[in-house]
């Protein structure tokens, strides 16, 4: 049975790979004591075996963070977070967690079922702790992962964890880390800089078009990057990369506070496309629990004619505070932001983008679709600005909100600052409600009320869906339908 033998060998290779690249195997399963002070930062850095310069960078960030206060301008409400009552470091593989799918929340399993997630993947997503499961799961995607790594290596693309990058590619990390989102950028970015756990690092060398979509999904050996994720993606001159973050299936997570930082750097003629599907636990039907998601994502179109495109589908989390932005520094650079934000129950979303035009003839495009249902609040907050020396810049913004029911809210807060008279900014915004007539029409044709809502909403977000990578589109449509379950009637 050659095929079986081959598979077993491949799995072994993966195991070795995991040992080699998987950082978690080097760490004992321990938690740092609760609370945050300088020693916590030192502890984390030491646990990761980081060089001196990295520790100093973290300590600098921590010093800045201590002097900062939490931002309160967003339209979100939550009890005050006691930052001394949190754990800032836990080994990626703790022994807690369900032993099998039987112990997993049936509600979660029902969603996997609806999304059509393969059985093996469900176990990984639900955080089932069992080595056998891990190997089994690798079975299905084994060839994908190996060919994937080899092909990237051939192209010269570096795709690894940020911890590994700090050890293996210190010059690149030193040069770019914090160059888009400085340590002191904001309260949560400073916190992340001090205590970030792990994340992704991508470097695409000059003139290289990355041969495939890079996805966190395939990095199964680094599945628990924790609550303070740090991602850095660099596209050198003329390089091209598309990165996919997250997954439509809800992932089990013990940490309530998430504060990630993502930095993108595009040099001359380079292009980065960053897509996110976020579906973290939104809390129960009364709004209890749920993830707080305070994210800083920013791309720097540093080079001439560079391009950065953000696409996001936000359906989860109790609180979302997130503004993926573009600094359009290079002349003729382009920034794009396509967003679908769905909120139901008691979710609060305050999300949008910033397009900061510094380069001449730079252009940007914003398409935002907010859908609010239940008792949720959904805010689009965006800034479009033109520097006084930036001539010939253009922006087109379209913000549409859709309300389902009469207890939710949609808000649009656009800031537009043109300091150059040649700037050409367009802004369109609409707010509409799903009408009973539309639902009746669909139901008369045989759709249930929930199917009707899903159909109408998917039509509403179509302009944005088209910008998602193909394999995500169908899944996302289903996800939107599921997120809005129980929103009417």
């Amino acid at each position: 049975m050659a095929a079986v033998k081959e598979t077993i060998d491949q799995v072994k290779t993966i195991d070795v790979d995991q040992y080699k690249y998987g950082f978690e195997t080097n760490i004992e399963s321990v938690k740092a004591p609760k609370g945050l002070d300088e020693s916590t930062v030192r502890y984390i850095s030491a646990k990761k075996g980081e060089p001196e310069w990295m520790l100093n960078w973290r300590l600098e960030a921590f010093a800045r963070w201590k002097a900062m206060t939490e931002p309160t301008w967003a339209k979100v409400h939550y009890p005050k977070i006691d930052f001394q009552d949190l754990y800032y470091y836990a080994a990626p593989k703790s022994t807690e967690g369900p032993k099998s799918l039987d112990e997993v929340d049936p509600e979660l399993l029902r969603m996997y079922e609806k999304l059509g997630v393969p059985l093996k993947e469900r176990e990984i997503l639900a955080g089932v702790q069992s080595t056998k499961v891990a190997v089994d799961a690798v079975f299905d995607s084994v060839s994908v992962v190996t060919t994937f790594k080899e092909e990237l290596k051939k192209a010269g693309v570096i795709f690894c964890s940020i911890s590994e990058a700090i050890r293996e590619y210190p010059e690149l990390v030193k040069k770019y880390l914090g160059s888009v989102v400085p340590q002191s950028d904001n309260f949560y970015a400073a916190l992340n800089s001090a205590v970030f756990s792990d994340g992704s690092f991508v470097y695409v060398p000059e003139g290289v078009r990355c041969p495939m979509e890079l996805s966190t999904y395939f990095r199964i050996n680094e599945k628990q990057t924790g609550q303070f994720e740090r991602t850095l993606i660099i596209a050198d001159r003329g390089a091209h990369v598309s990165y996919l973050e997250g997954c439509t299936a809800p992932t089990r997570d013990e940490n309530q506070l998430h504060a990630a930082v993502v930095e993108l750097v595009a040099l001359d003629d380079a292009e980065i496309k960053y897509s996110t599907v976020q579906n973290w636990y939104p809390g129960d039907k009364d709004g209890k629990g749920g993830i707080y998601n305070f994210v800083t994502k920013r791309g720097d179109c540093r080079g001439h004619n560079s391009k950065i495109s953000w696409t996001q589908v936000e359906t989860g989390s109790a609180i979302t505070w997130k503004y993926p932005s573009c600094i359009l520094r290079g002349d003729y650079s382009r920034g794009e932001f396509y967003s679908i934000a769905v909120s139901n129950g008691y979710q609060q979303v305050d999300s949008g983008t910033k397009m900061i035009h510094l380069g001449k003839n730079s252009s940007s495009r914003i398409i935002s679709k907010g859908i609010a249902a239940g008792h949720s609040q959904n805010t689009y907050r965006g800034l479009v600005s033109a520097h006084r020396k930036a001539t010939g810049v253009r922006n087109f913004t379209n913000c549409d909100s859709l309300l389902i029911g009469d207890k939710c809210g949609a808000h649009t807060v656009p800031y537009i600052e043109a300091k150059n008279s040649s700037a050409h900014f367009e802004h369109e915004a609409t707010t509409s409600k799903i009408s009973d007539d539309m639902l009746f029409y669909c139901m008369q044709r045989g759709l249930s009320e929930e199917e009707a809502v899903a159909l109408v909403v998917n039509g509403f977000v179509r302009d944005v869906l088209q910008h998602l990578p193909m394999e995500f589109m169908a899944e996302t449509q289903k996800l939107i339908g599921i997120s809005l379950e129980g929103s009417v009637g």
Partner: protein, 251 residues
């Protein structure tokens, strides 16, 4: 067989009574027309059959194949074969006609315990049925009813009817907004669906439509009740004399 028995309907939010004891029987295989002046309750009748919110049945019943539909959701009624061709079909931005048709068809099949229709079979069917109504696939790639002309909307309604193959077809003023050519195409589409297993209720103001879709019976609805029932010649009579004799005032 559709049986409407002593149907009394008021608006849910107001005290206004619209139907005051409608009695009507439409056997399978027959086409019945309902004519009447504005505000006589014709559209209300069609909505109540289909199960739209906003109306309250205070007395009477609607039976389809011997089963009361009043407690059913609109989609359950659709699964039982009830179809309403709307006077003003709704626009659904961003949803392509093909997607809408396929979603509806498969939702109905699922409710009836049948397998979903695959893409190839669906496309073949939609091309075939669309051709008869001068609807090509390009038109069905556009969002449902968005930017459609009056004629396109009505043809698209009839295509939906042809695809979903209901057994009770209620047509609410299908002739409104149609020019002569469109009226002919739509009528031919309806006539092609006439069969011994299907009942039609055709609601219209004008006799014109009934030249193309020839009814077995014509009912006059006025003041919330069926005032008169006759053969197709009743429509001609109404065309000549108007509804004045039924409303007590000049129409």
């Amino acid at each position: 067989m559709l049986e409407i028995k002593n149907l009394h309907v008021k608006l849910a939010d107001e005290d206004r009574v619209i139907l005051k004891g409608v009695d009507l029987v439409v056997p399978k295989g027959e086409v019945h027309a309902i004519m009447g002046p504005n505000g006589s309750g014709k559209s209300t009748l069609s909505y109540v059959i289909a199960g739209r919110d906003g109306y309250e049945v205070t007395e009477g019943d609607i039976l389809w194949n011997g089963e009361s539909v009043l407690g059913m959701e609109p989609d359950e009624r659709a699964a039982k074969g009830v179809f309403l061709a709307f006077q003003y079909p709704m626009e659904i931005p961003g949803v392509a006609g093909l997607t809408f048709l396929r979603t509806a068809l498969n939702a109905l099949r699922k409710k009836r315990g049948e397998d979903e229709m695959n893409t190839a079979a669906f496309m073949k069917l939609v091309k075939e049925k669309g051709a008869k109504l001068n609807i090509d696939v390009e038109m069905l790639k556009r969002p449902v009813n968005v930017g459609f002309s009056g004629g396109e909307k009505k043809r698209s309604e009839i295509l939906q009817m042809a695809m979903l193959e209901p057994t009770l077809c209620v047509l609410d003023e299908t002739d409104s907004g149609l020019d002569i050519d469109a009226l002919r195409v739509v009528s031919e589409g309806v006539n092609a669906l006439r069969s011994k297993d299907r009942a039609f209720l055709v609601i219209t103001h004008y006799q014109r439509l009934l030249n193309h879709i020839v009814p077995d019976k014509v009912h006059v609805l006025a003041n919330g009740r069926i005032q008169k029932t006759g053969g197709k010649e009743l429509a001609l009579e109404l065309e000549k004399l108007g509804y004045a004799g039924f409303t007590g005032k000049a129409a």
